[in-house]
Symmetry: C2
Subunit: 794 residues, 2 copies
């Protein structure tokens, strides 16, 4: 809910500490602003202590002769002179939970600001004064820098001119910077003895910020009337001298530059970028460019060039694609920023081969012992993204296979993979070669090597869970063999329970026969089974029947020779048949509501790949996990036999530390009340295992499945996929985009509902993806928007 108005320049004032002169310096700014013939707004969101000492009262008293131009206000006033979080608790009754929430607090500021902005379109200034230091607690107890962050307002930092003030000022600045705030000016009192401003001026100049030292007020006279008069004389002098005017000019210039910068960004971006997966010939012009000024939790703050006069030039836009499926904890999560900062400050990046550092080691152990590698994986190989992680996985599998089969020379090159049609493993050419050549995932060197089954899929159609068999399977099965419409989604995902059904037998026979005829045909030699468990994302959010994937793994393994008996009964089984790769880049780490897909499928892979959520949606990093028997295929005394793959920033500490923090937070989220409530809506009893649940409301999902414009729908965890009716299918279709486009526009109504929605489509499939911690209210609000848009089209 970041706000920016052309006619209304707004600054929030943070203090390097309590008692550094925030109110005095703000009063000077307010007076000087009023002298510009501007309307001036002053807001003190929270005030504690007696009203006669309140900062807004001080401003009112001393805003000068043009006080009719000055509007002061306070939103939350407590008369006890203690910190806001204590005052709020006392007011609500000690121990009460009814403390005003951060979102209520921030929304009330945003609404107030909008009201001020709508009073007219003449140039105006607004100052919002925080309380205490940057990290002083707010009503909820969250500290100010974090609480005010969604507003992302330009900032004035009032420095500390006292003994120790250099340190206090710089540290406060760094706390602001850790939340991304833009500091437009540093103001502080001049102090002839400590001369802090002399040190701070070049320090901040290097960081592009002007420091202004202002004469402090004279000692306060005892007589109350003389006190007011003396203070008035002080302000009079300050404003008439040329100290404050340059500050105002700077603030105005920064404001104008900010607007001009945002205004220029679409054109410049169209001229400089080559966007991924974008046909530039279809980009109509500047209005097709989303300018992201900042982001916070599930929202982008985007520039709206076309906004009504007097409206905010920034608006909230829900990140409905979780920024290409990366977001897990919301944008700019302060804990992840601090983790990144901590590792950067301790290591930067350091060399990894034959070396070790704590963030990488902790991450590897966590993935192996408490993560998706639990029980089967023995090694972690780090790379940079899902695509490189898959290249590593493929190299591992191919080598393991060709070593076991004692292949040499060109025999090694003729190897292929077994997979499912619709797979996607990334855009590097090796990862592409593990996918079928069809549609658009091609480049000149794409040379698909393998065989891909058409998979049966799961969806909800017209209120019923349905398993759709591909033609080949329909032909193979007697109609009575396949219970195509299943009684419930949970029963579809009860893989163990379905293993003995007739459909499982159909799958088994079909897979077995197909593999046998492939073998007989010769030419292609399959060396690995590569799967995206449960959902093929980029292929079109295809929810694959998990039973088919399970049977596929079983058949492939059973067809291989039994491995030699192990002397160590605790050791995980060596790979058999073909090395099995699970590409969990998209589906893993709770994207689908479960840490890993292994328990649901009931089989572990020999190699798995993890990225995206791994780093909480902040920076690229991938991990390829492997079982010991895969690792052994490269173990020897010849360097040439090693896995000769590496990237410069392999296991970069910043990424590993962010991943460690992410894994801690997502585990916490998986045990949250919000998740328990969502699971209960999907009729999963607390404490029992259950795979089929979603943060999306089941009633909503079922309702949508019955709508005219919709063919089928499916939801698991954070993912909602809606296939719309369309004559033209496939990746190049624009139908889903067209159908739902009305949700791209902003609602009116309450402050919290004032957002538009960014979403992406895969042809005729529109999908929406939340973070793991998206607020239930936000999801409800989004469901409502989707439902309305679909109704319009029906």
């Amino acid at each position: 809910m970041s706000l920016l108005f052309k006619h209304l320049r707004i600054h929030q004032i943070f203090g390097a500490n309590t008692d550094v002169g925030k109110t005095i310096l703000t009063t000077a700014l307010v007076r000087r602003s009023a002298a510009f013939k501007n309307e001036v707004f002053y807001l003190k969101p929270i005030s504690t202590g007696p009203i006669e000492d309140a900062d807004d009262e001080h401003i009112k008293r001393h805003c000068g002769a043009l006080k009719n131009r000055v509007h002061t206000d306070c939103l939350y006033r407590f008369h006890v002179p203690v910190s806001p979080h204590l005052a709020a608790r006392l007011a609500a009754g000690e121990g009460s939970q009814k403390v005003i929430s951060d979102s209520t607090f921030v929304n009330s500021i945003a609404s107030y600001v909008r009201r001020c902005a709508s009073r007219g379109t003449d140039p105006a200034h607004m100052y919002i004064e925080t309380a205490g230091g940057v990290h002083s607690p707010t009503l909820s107890g969250v500290t100010q820098v974090d609480c005010y962050r969604p507003l992302f307002l330009p900032t004035i930092l009032v420095g500390d001119s006292r003994l120790g003030g250099i340190s206090a000022t710089i540290s406060a600045y760094e706390s602001l910077l850790l939340r991304g705030y833009v500091v437009d000016a540093v103001l502080l009192f001049r102090d002839e003895y400590y001369r802090n401003s002399e040190f701070l001026t070049p320090y901040f100049a290097e960081r592009g910020i002007d420091v202004t030292a202002v004469d402090p007020p004279p000692p306060i006279p005892a007589d109350p009337l003389e006190k007011i008069a003396s203070t008035e004389r002080y302000y009079e002098r300050l404003v008439s001298e040329d100290t404050i005017l340059p500050v105002l000019r700077t603030l105005d210039t920064r404001h104008e530059r900010r607007l001009a910068e945002l205004e220029s960004m679409p054109r410049r971006s169209l001229d400089a970028f080559w966007w991924p997966f974008v046909q530039h010939g279809l980009v109509k012009g500047e209005k097709d460019v989303t300018v992201i000024d900042s982001a916070s939790s599930d929202f982008f703050s985007v520039y709206d060039a076309q906004g009504a006069e007097g409206a905010s030039a920034l608006e909230s836009q829900l990140d409905g694609s979780a920024s290409w499926w990366t977001q897990a904890l919301g944008h700019a999560h302060p804990t992840l920023t601090l983790a990144a900062a901590r590792a950067s400050g301790r290591y930067g990046h350091v060399i990894f081969p034959q070396a070790t550092h704590a963030p990488a080691l902790q991450l590897a152990e966590r993935l192996l012992h408490d993560g998706p590698g639990k029980g089967w994986a023995s090694r972690v190989f780090f790379s940079d993204d899902g695509s490189t992680g898959m290249e590593v996985a493929l190299k591992m599998a191919l080598r393991a296979f060709s070593t076991r089969e004692r292949l040499e020379g060109t025999d090694r090159k003729a190897l292929g993979v077994l997979g499912l049609r619709g797979s996607y493993h990334g855009d590097t050419i090796g990862a592409m070669d593990a996918c079928a050549e069809e549609g658009v995932y091609t480049c000149e060197w794409h040379n698909a090597k393998g065989y891909w089954f058409d998979p049966p899929t799961v969806s909800i159609q017209d209120g019923h869970p349905v398993i759709t068999l591909p033609p080949a399977l329909v032909a193979a099965a007697a109609p009575s063999d396949c219970a195509v419409a299943s009684e419930s989604l949970s029963s579809v995902y009860d893989v163990a329970g379905r293993l003995s059904t007739p459909l499982a037998k159909v799958y088994r026979t079909y897979i077995g026969n197909t593999l046998q005829s492939l073998e007989r045909a010769g030419g292609l030699r399959l060396a690995a089974l590569v799967l995206e468990p449960l959902v093929m994302g980029a292929g079109g959010m295809i929810f694959v029947d998990p039973l088919f994937q399970r049977v596929l793994v079983d058949v492939v393994r059973e067809r291989g020779p039994a491995p030699p008996p192990s002397t160590d009964s605790d050791a995980p089984a060596p790979w058999r048949g073909l090395p099995v790769i699970f590409d969990e880049v998209f589906v893993g780490l709770y994207r689908l509501g479960m840490q890993s897909t292994i328990p649901l499928l009931g089989v572990a892979p020999d190699i798995s790949v993890h990225a995206k959520i791994l780093t909480g949606g902040l920076v690229p990093l991938a991990a390829t996990l492997a079982s010991d028997s895969i690792f052994r295929a490269f173990y020897g005394t010849e360097k040439a036999e090693a896995l000769l793959h590496g990237h410069s920033y392999t296991a970069h500490p910043l990424g590993c530390e962010v991943a460690n923090e992410t894994l801690r937070l997502v585990e916490k989220e998986s045990r949250s009340e919000a998740w328990a409530a969502a699971q209960a809506r999907w009729e999963i009893a607390p404490g029992t295992p259950g795979w089929v649940w979603s943060l999306w409301d089941p009633q909503f999902v079922w309702t949508v499945s019955r709508m005219d414009a919709v063919t089928e729908v499916m939801a698991l965890g954070t993912v909602l996929a809606i296939k719309v009716k369309d004559s033209e299918a496939g990746y190049v279709s624009h139908s889903a985009q067209t159908l739902l486009q009305s949700i791209k526009f902003r609602d009116t109504g309450s402050e919290s509902g004032l957002f538009s929605v960014h979403f992406r489509t895969l042809g005729n499939v529109a999908y929406f993806m939340t973070s793991l911690n998206t607020a239930p209210e936000t999801i409800r609000s989004l469901e409502d928007k989707i439902w309305k848009a679909l109704q319009k089209s029906s």
Copy 2:
């Protein structure tokens, strides 16, 4: 120079502000430590003000009955009661440059600590008390958190118990965290009114840190004797109560855990990691694992399990491979950490296709207008690492070629590249396919597609610059045609001047004939020219004759049809012949002393790739630059014709912001005095262009080239490559590693020379690589170590 002793637990004490009670609480710690029958050391590195008020005097006075166990000291004492940077300037004479440098200051602390540690091996404690707040300036004016950082000592933060102290304490903590410090405990005074500790205790508990609130001292009596007595009673009570003891226990436990953790890391790493490019079968055991505890500027701080009793368990190790060629500004550069934090705090990561954000836009514009794309590139495509950046480049080139040639179907797949033998472009399979299949860069799916010339190379042999021609060229050239021993290195790199030499003609004819016979032979169709300009790094630090690369580009372009005349005379020329790709991942951005290799070669590519230094050695990010005519090959109205390549974290704001900051800093470095001095040593006059220079001393380079153990040597910019005499050549050779292994051990001598060296070899080539800002003293010291090691072997 991070220090860690088994018997001596050391903590540094930072304050959240001035006057928060650092000395009082440290006195309590010292007294309690002494009561444990330990030797206790107290160091106040800098003290300002009258000696009778000095903190070390206070400790001496109040360290209790066991004062014979307590040793106090102060290293820099100034009697003026002002901030250290002012005091130092006053002492040195106002305006004087002779202020004590940060490294002198930190070295003197390190030496002092070593002396204390060497007094015995009985358990001892040491407290080092800083001055003022965390960011108070030191002698040089650099603030404390940065100045003390190389010592990387465990930290106690003394919180602020006063009004505003919650904010001050948290901000100070965040400033410590931004430098990677580990905070073992927070101490502060109990204050019944503000109750800061009540807020801070759960706050820090969530971050794994215990907060201890301690009773404040009683009001100070006026009578000096009574003052001492009252203070003594206070300490007496503090120490006898059970407030301080648990703190000491925590500090001891943390110290032991830190040692145990470091001790356990080699074993655990051997069990959990699959290292890149490492044959695990050749890793002998724990001693072969480098445990990196932290890093700072050019040094790792590594754990030394085998150290002598009483010696530091951490030692400095020079990062002689610039951590796989990534480091440009030293590890853990605070400016880069702050850039990372700023972008993370503002955006996290945000979606990129058809979107824009300031860090990406600034970076793109910088690369296009002031960077390596200047004058020829029109677009920037972001990906994650050099390898993916090359895959993008190859996809661009192949499509541009096949579109121009109107190729369809399998004709498109038969395309290959033209390059040089010894090339390396990364480990993803597409990047591998652009390199010859030889030696070890293979995997089952590696399918080299192209033709690679054996290139002539440049080196210094026995004091002379030499151009070595490959056999095919020797055969093609009359002996008189080729001036094999050149008069100077600068003349070798004067490509423009050499274009009309007989050798250029030999190159031209040879290349032309070869391309012609390739065409006649058919089968392979060349679609791109792919070069690592000047140096093929991973191929063995092969310095290619730049004239050969220039002529190669010229010939390839001249052979293509002339492009249609352009209506826009300012537009850069469209690609001709073959799209030319420069892989500048390793060589670019000043690694070789120049921003880009384009001006030296005198030709621009159509596509270039940049990574490694791009992000200053912190996180992965790559940029592929393309000319407008390449971009146009994908421009149209069909989505399927777009460049369908992308990674989840494409253009992640954190990486882009770090890159922006890096480019600013490296440009600054390129104009630094240190660079001017190095260039002068290589006889480049100030302000004149000159390519052939290095941070390595020319005399050293020439001397090494004459040594018995050395075949040839070469240096450019930050890179030094030494080929050693060896019967066994190539990547699998271990000879260079063996020959130079003595520099892996630590020198004795002065504090600043106390380091071992990490370096990597490529078979019989040992290379050393500095950052752009490595201190000249460090390089001299390293040269000395290399020279001694080579002498030993000669």
